[in-house]
């Protein structure tokens, strides 16, 4: 398929503007653009066709089953798209006067209250733009909290080896030092390893619970005692909150700071990579340090009034513009109001679906931790690799031939040939069965017709792509007349894929 730039012809355009009979504005020559940007030149019909064709080459949750572990690919209710497009939300300027944003502030305040209840904590800031930014914001809160207490020697953050890569990266960006802790044979944090690593220099723990293995840490109570006895704080990575809404709250588990991925648990469509939303909820003792402005409610005589409070002298500052990604809040708020207290049922069904798929697959693939799972589970294709030379990557690519998006692969790092499956709550049993049948069929194919897997996928617009070449050549923009033709270069015998494909 051609790039939009390759479809461009000089003289075409789709845009028109009103003609005002005004004298032109002035720009000094040295600041005026000399050479126009080579944006594509197309009339409207080809703009529509181009992007429509791109959409048909993209697989979304609307297209089919998408059990991408740790990403919580659930149905995105369409009513949320309708309400986010109401002019009162869509066309609202963030610097509008306070009496002109009362509806927006009320929605934000209500969402804060909901998230406080769901997490079991006291105060919420909606500002962070995504989970990763929630993490670094939470770590900044820790820094500010300990600085305020004069405990500046606390410089270490403890992270288990099963953690998302974002956790250590956030630790580095917040200026902390990483201390790793290992996982025990049941998939919990290894308490013996942990005890020696928590002390006066510890600022806190970052933990996903249930973990990236899809397992609830059975020692969570002891873990929180270890950290709190040492005067350290507990940070909850909310990537897996979909497992526990109304069932177990991070605040009740002993966590002091939580980020919530609105684009996972609360159904903000992920748009092929974003937007997201990463609000943080904290205990009362950390509230003074939250980003500004805070959205607060004041009960006036006749009706409640909402305002933006900038007067927070201990605040860490701002981590993004304004109050956060408001459109994301509208969608997630609508999603939660559609459920009400039945959010618990959402999590129950997510866990039921995951356990059902696990039960059907665990004899065909290795199960590194033989327990019931929460909302997702991790299998290993190690058995297929050993017996037939078939990798997790081959399984993933073959699943595409069956019409499914593959699970997350090669993550978490502590499980070789990992296949991380998260069905979510919105699927039918028929879909789950079809997926299980496909996975079982693939396990048989690994033995009987392994080349089917090695050459998969067979029906996508492209086959396996040479990722080594992509990184080496680093062609990251169209080069117009100088654009190289890679297909004219001698091909590698086998396209080379990189194993690690997972963020969070």
């Amino acid at each position: 398929m051609e790039l939009i730039f390759e479809k461009s012809r000089s003289g075409r355009r789709a845009s028109t503007f009103p003609r005002y009979d005004l004298p032109p504005g002035e720009v000094p020559d040295e600041l005026r653009r000399e050479r126009p940007p080579r944006l594509p030149e197309l009339a409207e019909p080809e703009v529509m066709r181009h992007f429509t064709e791109l959409s048909t080459r993209t697989f979304g949750i609307d297209t089919g089953f998408y059990p991408l572990g740790s990403c919580t690919m659930k149905h995105n209710p369409r009513v949320n798209e309708r309400v986010v497009a109401l002019p009162g939300f869509r066309d609202l300027h963030p610097l509008q006067d306070e009496d002109g944003i009362q509806g927006a502030l009320e929605l934000e305040w209500r969402l804060q209250e909901i998230l406080a209840e769901v997490t079991g904590l006291d105060a919420v800031s909606l500002q962070p733009a995504a989970g990763s930014q929630g993490e670094v914001t939470g770590l900044m809160l820790m820094r500010a909290y300990f600085a305020d207490r004069g405990e500046t020697e606390r410089s270490e953050i403890v992270i288990p080896d099963s953690a998302h890569g974002t956790n250590p990266a956030s630790v580095a960006m917040a200026g902390y030092t990483l201390v790793g802790v290992s996982t025990d044979k049941r998939g919990n944090i290894d308490l013996d390893d942990l005890r020696g690593k928590v002390g006066e220099r510890t600022a806190g723990l970052m933990l996903t619970n249930p973990s990236t293995l899809g397992l609830f840490d059975e020692s969570i109570d002891e873990i929180q005692r270890i950290f709190h006895r040492a005067g350290a704080l507990m940070y909850y990575d909310g990537a897996n909150l979909n497992a526990v809404c109304g069932i177990s709250r991070p605040g009740d588990m002993g966590f002091d700071i939580v980020h919530i991925n609105l684009h996972k648990t609360f159904s903000q469509p992920h748009g092929g990579g974003g937007p997201g939303g990463g609000p943080i909820a904290v205990r009362k003792s950390l509230e003074p340090f939250l980003p500004v402005p805070a959205v607060v409610r004041e009960d006036a005589e006749e009706a409640a009034r909402f305002r933006l409070d900038y007067d927070r002298p201990k605040s860490i500052g701002k981590v993004r513009a304004f109050t956060g990604p408001f459109g994301v809040f509208v969608r997630s708020y609508a999603f939660i109001r559609a459920y009400g207290p039945a959010l618990k049922e959402m999590s129950e069904v997510a866990v039921l679906n995951a356990n059902y798929v696990l039960a059907r697959l665990k004899d065909a693939y290795e199960l590194p931790f033989d327990r019931l799972c929460m909302h997702e589970f991790v299998l290993s294709a190690r058995n297929l690799k050993r017996a037939h030379g078939i990798t997790a990557l081959d399984v993933a690519k073959r699943l595409m031939d069956y019409g499914f998006h593959p699970p997350t692969i090669y993550f978490p790092l502590i499980v070789p040939e990992a296949l991380m499956v998260e069905p979510t709550e919105t699927e039918t049993k028929e879909t789950l069965d079809a997926f299980c049948d496909a996975m079982l069929s693939i396990a048989r194919e690994a033995e009987e017709e392994p080349e089917l897997l090695c050459e998969a996928p067979h029906h996508r617009p492209v086959g396996r792509l040479d990722e080594v070449k992509a990184a080496k050549r680093a062609i990251v923009r169209y080069g117009f007349e100088d654009h190289p033709d890679l297909s004219a270069e001698p091909a590698e015998a086998e396209p080379r894929q990189l194993e690690a494909q997972k963020g969070a």
Partner: protein, 447 residues
């Protein structure tokens, strides 16, 4: 509440049997009793779809959006016209509901779109490489500082005071974690003085200025970039994409990095987000870039395809040594930007810029002849300008709004000595007649 849940009672029973447990509660036995939640969530009852729409319509009705009053608010978020093709493309479910393209064979559409977006941003800014987007125009500035710190091994960053106050505040929030000291260079009558900027740049990792700046004025951008370059600090321009049909590209005047808020290209105001930030650089910084980057390659049959590339920069591989912790970015909003820019084309972008320039000139001149002096009389502006209104600007805003006009942003909130100054913005959506009405209302209010 089951309208999003598909399992029947019979399904549930059958599934529990397969698992080998007797109830859903049994699945949660791994959660210690001490941390189980033993009551119902205190949330308001579930709403039907119709009730939900009614409730949200009532909330939306309590907001004064830019269609409800004649608005001249800008200050970083702009009421530009968004063509219908943007809405049409963004409503495509495949694009709307896809995750990050970890499996390229399933995601060629979104990967190609990102590659095209990267190309469009490079063309706009005159840079060699762009990432797939950052969160917004503030966080990309923090990203630029982090990149510059590692590229130069220096620990000071310089910000022009005429850089958007929220951008500066975000950089200052990140700075302690990055181990960076932040120096600010005051504006002199609306613009940054290149000599002062040069002095501040000594031993700096990078220096960030905005073009056009937050006060609406065109900076002597080539001189500011040269000042940073002389000190071997990375010159970083924070630019408005909509201006780049008429204003020179940062790459053409020697910047190492170009960053900005993308909202004006393709995104609704949406009370401040979600939008996208862009970050583009000269090729020598490619391996220090934060965030996703899509690259071109081929499959075994020689077919062209696109993949996430240079991933050894990223958190899932490099972990604590990564160039950033970002994973989720703003792809859908960046796609909206690409569609908008494709609709504009080079000629449309230039015409849009010229329209803003002409309307801005008309507004300034009309206001001046009505007795409202520009705050920075000798400066050139693009679509925004600062104007003195003779009394506290916040009061003027309040009173003008009672007459159905939002006249702009009160600059005294962020800058000393500008309490009587409004920052007014005129996009292509405001007609000369709208400007006339602004002048009339300001005259009534100021009188």
């Amino acid at each position: 509440m089951t309208r999003f849940l598909s399992l029947t009672e019979a399904d549930r029973k059958e599934m529990l049997d397969t698992i080998g447990v007797s109830s859903i509660d049994d699945l949660f036995e791994q959660i210690p009793a001490a941390v189980r939640f033993d009551r119902e969530l205190a949330l308001e009852p579930a709403l039907s779809e119709l009730e939900l729409v009614t409730h949200l319509e009532a909330l939306a009705a309590r907001n004064a959006h830019t269609g409800a009053e004649l608005s001249f608010l800008g200050a970083g978020i702009y009421d530009h016209y968004i063509p219908a093709v943007v809405d049409a493309i963004l409503s495509r479910g495949e694009l709307l509901t896809a995750y990050t393209p970890y499996q390229p064979e399933m995601s060629q559409g979104v990967l190609q779109a990102i590659f095209e977006y990267q190309t469009a941003i490079c063309e706009l800014t005159g840079m060699d490489v762009s990432n797939a987007s950052g969160y917004d125009g503030t966080t990309v500035a923090a990203d630029a500082c982090f990149l510059a710190k590692h590229a130069t091994r220096r620990s000071k960053v310089v910000l022009a005071e005429a850089l958007n106050p929220q951008v500066r505040q975000v950089v200052k929030t990140y700075a302690p974690g990055f181990g960076l000291e932040v120096i600010e260079v005051p504006h002199r009558s609306g613009v940054t003085d290149p000599d002062e900027f040069r002095d501040a740049c000594a031993d700096a990792a990078c220096a960030i200025f905005q073009q056009p700046n937050f006060l609406g004025c065109l900076e002597p951008a080539p001189d500011l970039a040269a000042a940073a370059n002389e000190a071997d600090a990375l010159a970083v321009a924070h630019v408005d994409p909509v201006s780049l049909g008429v204003l020179e590209a940062p790459g053409a005047y020697g910047c190492a990095l170009a960053i900005g808020e993308g909202q004006g290209a393709g995104n609704y105001q949406s009370y401040g987000g979600p939008h996208y930030g862009f970050l583009a650089a000269r090729s020598e910084y490619i391996r220090r870039m934060p965030g996703r980057i899509v690259g071109e390659t081929i499959d075994a049959a020689g077919r062209r395809g696109y993949v996430l590339t240079l991933q050894t920069r990223e958190q899932h591989i490099r972990r604590e040594k990564a160039t950033s912790n970002i994973t989720t970015n703003q792809t859908l909003l960046a796609l909206a930007g690409l569609v908008h820019l494709s609709w504009l084309g080079p000629e449309g972008l230039r015409e849009l810029g010229e329209t803003c320039l002409a309307l801005g000139r008309y507004a300034k001149e009309r206001l001046q002849s009505a007795g409202f002096e520009p705050a920075f009389p000798d400066r050139t502006t693009f679509k925004e300008f600062a104007v003195r209104v003779g009394r506290p600007a916040g009061e003027v805003v309040t009173e003008a709004r009672r007459k159905g006009v939002h006249p702009g942003y009160a600059l005294g909130r962020d800058y000393e000595g500008l309490d009587d100054t409004l920052l007014a913005c005129v996009t292509e959506k405001r007609s000369p007649a709208d400007v006339d009405r602004l002048v009339d209302v300001l005259q009534e209010v100021a009188a």
